[in-house]
């Protein structure tokens, strides 16, 4: 499903070169739940940008669903993001003053899905994350945990190949964070591939596999035999 081989990312700022990723290679198979861990500056954000088709590598190849997307143009990348990636951001990134239903339907707007179909699907997804009674609430009327659940519903709108949560619990109280992780585990059980970026060990331990990054290199990549299941 995901093949990353010899990917490097070098940022050039004036005459200073910063190596964010140095010759990283790994594979992720369908149905895996991977946590990518590392301290700040380890390159995990850069890796997440490349995996999420927000950026392209300086060298190396990234193959997603058999499609090499390391050399695509802006609009082609936008299309990949739309169809194959389900982002969940740390800061939720919902459209302000816009009802939950419309926020969830937004990716389908760019895919050209007809309005009725969009809203029906968005409603189903919101019911699935337990917000069936908050369809018309705007983000400011929802708690952090609820906002993140709206964001998760949105990430599922286009049935993406991978879900890409980036520090999904960073802005949420601990109790609600557990609920969010429960949703991810449930989605994983249903067959969704999840690649989660986090720097918190107690969040990473919800995953089945953990990749440790340091200074742009993979220092450890192994199965997490003690995956912590959230009881529902």
């Amino acid at each position: 499903m995901i093949q990353v081989s010899h990917v490097s990312k070098i940022y050039k700022n004036d005459s200073v070169e910063t190596v964010a990723l140095a010759d990283v290679s790994f594979e992720i198979k369908k149905g895996e739940f991977v946590a990518i861990m590392g301290p700040s500056g380890s390159g995990k954000s850069t890796l997440m940008h490349i995996l999420g088709a927000l950026d392209t590598p300086t060298s190396g190849t990234y193959i997603l669903d058999g499609e090499n997307i390391s050399k695509l143009k802006d609009d082609e990348l936008a299309d990949i993001r739309n169809r194959k990636i389900g982002f969940v951001f740390q800061a939720f990134n919902l459209l302000p003053r816009t009802p939950a239903l419309k926020n969830v339907a937004l990716p389908m707007v760019y895919a050209g899905v007809p309005k009725e179909e969009r809203l029906t699907k968005a409603q189903k997804l919101l019911e699935m994350v337990g917000l069936g009674d908050r369809l018309n609430h705007t983000p400011s009327q929802l708690s952090g945990g609820q906002q993140q659940r709206v964001a998760i519903a949105r990430s599922l709108a286009m049935n993406p190949s991978i879900l890409l949560p980036d520090e999904p619990t960073g802005n949420i109280a601990t109790v609600q964070a557990e609920e969010i992780m429960a949703i991810f585990q449930k989605l994983n059980d249903e067959g969704h591939t999840i690649v989660m970026i986090t720097h918190e060990p107690n969040i990473a331990e919800h995953a089945k596999r953990v990749i440790h990054l340091r200074d742009g290199k993979i220092v450890n990549d192994g199965n997490n035999h003690k995956q912590r299941r959230v009881k529902r």
């Binding site: 936008a78 951001f89 990134n93 459209l95 937004l106 949105r154």
Partner: protein
């Protein structure tokens, strides 16, 4: 996203900040409003001047003494005596001149007219009876100057309604009374119907006297000849020219000691003048429109900066450049278009009010309405393009990180 949805979304975004949207639109309202008002007032003025000139008769040729161009030294038109009463008779009777229906020699000067108590400075016009037919004059009281008066150099006068107002008061009937022109007493025999007009075109501020009498008082003569109809104007102009050249024993038309105008020449010159003024004023108004456009661009740039995170999110979720450009362009077009429509209403109202104040006919051309709508839409595109492109070219990573 289909088009109507995009528009609805843009409108709801714009209504979030009503004050800012209103102020941005105001610039366009003022710009479009002043263009519409000035163009329609200009057209009204043009129409007014044209209809005044045309009311003099559209099939008239005016022959004035004096060369068309005789270097720098030139007598004032009417100041020389190159045209005579005999020339006028010849124009009327000559078999060579087939297209001329009527000839009305006239002679005019401005001078003082008094009743002893009151006085006014007005135009004295020496004419023959056919003038009334050529110029389509009718009377409210009394009779017009007759052939007898011309032959006998009678001291009789027909007054324009303005002169009656000035000398005898509004609505008075002065027929039978007398006025003094250049110290000579004239008996008033008639009053003409008001024809309107202002300034040098005022056809009511006039005193008619027999041509022979006027020539005795002062010298020189103008002719007005009337062609059979408007279609033979050029032919009539040529015939009159050739006959007068022959009578004055001149071979070369460039030596002509007279000038022939048709009403169309005068109309052309006058509408050129008003047209130039209209263009000038519209140009000034267009500058305010430009300033309004820059205001729109400024607001759109602020909007793009404010909504950087939103744009980043939209792009991350799969919005292509074209979609982002469309979204922002539609917002700016709605701003300017709304401004254009309101501005049009304001402009029409303003020109209607001003026109009724200064007694101009109110005109509104479909052209200026279409122009306003077209221009305001175009301003939205032109000044919205750069901010929209800026939004579309934002990198999603940086835009998402933007605080």
């Amino acid at each position: 996203m289909d088009f109507t949805e995009t528009i609805i979304e843009a409108i709801s975004t714009l209504t979030l900040n009503k004050l800012r949207t209103g102020l941005a639109t105001l610039g366009i309202v003022i710009g479009i409003g002043s263009v519409i008002a000035l163009v329609s007032l200009g057209q009204a003025a043009q129409k007014a001047v044209a209809s005044q000139i045309q009311s003099l008769g559209s099939n008239l040729l005016t022959v004035s003494p004096g060369a068309q161009s005789a270097g720098f030294v030139r007598g004032a038109a009417g100041g020389s005596t190159t045209l005579t009463f005999e020339d006028a008779k010849a124009l009327k009777d000559s078999p060579q001149v087939a297209t001329v229906k009527n000839v009305s020699p006239e002679f005019s000067r401005r001078t003082q007219v008094t009743t002893g108590r009151k006085n006014t400075n007005t135009q004295i016009l020496g004419i023959i009876p056919s003038y009334a037919e050529v110029r389509k004059i009718s009377l409210t009281a009394g009779v017009f100057i007759g052939d007898k008066d011309v032959q006998s150099m009678g001291k009789v006068a027909v007054l324009g309604p303005q002169v009656v107002n000035d000398l005898f008061g509004e609505g008075a009937n002065p027929v039978g009374q007398s006025v003094r022109i250049n110290s000579q007493s004239f008996r008033i025999i008639g009053v003409t119907v008001s024809k309107g007009g202002t300034g040098f075109l005022n056809q009511d501020d006039i005193v008619f006297v027999p041509l022979t009498t006027a020539q005795k008082l002062l010298f020189g003569a103008d002719y007005v000849t009337e062609a059979q109809n408007e279609n033979v104007m050029t032919q009539a102009q040529d015939e009159v020219g050739y006959l007068l050249l022959a009578r004055h024993k001149l071979r070369d038309p460039s030596q002509a000691d007279f000038t022939i105008f048709s009403q169309n020449d005068i109309l052309g010159a006058a509408s050129q003048v008003t047209g130039t003024f209209t263009a000038l004023l519209s140009g000034i108004a267009a500058i305010s429109l430009l300033v309004g456009g820059i205001g729109i661009m400024n607001i759109m740039l602020v909007t793009v900066t404010e909504r950087t995170r939103e744009i980043g999110l939209r792009k991350a979720l799969g919005a292509k450049k074209k979609v982002v450009i469309t979204q922002f362009l539609i917002e700016s077009i709605i701003l300017t278009f709304a401004g254009g429509v309101i501005g049009m209403a304001v402009g029409i109202a303003a020109s209607f009010i001003i026109a009724s104040f200064i007694n101009l006919p109110f005109t509104l051309s479909a052209q200026s309405v279409l122009l306003a709508i077209g221009v305001s839409g175009a301003i939205g595109v032109i000044f919205g393009w750069y901010p929209a492109r800026k939004a579309a070219n934002l990198q999603p990573i940086e835009a998402l990180r933007y605080e």
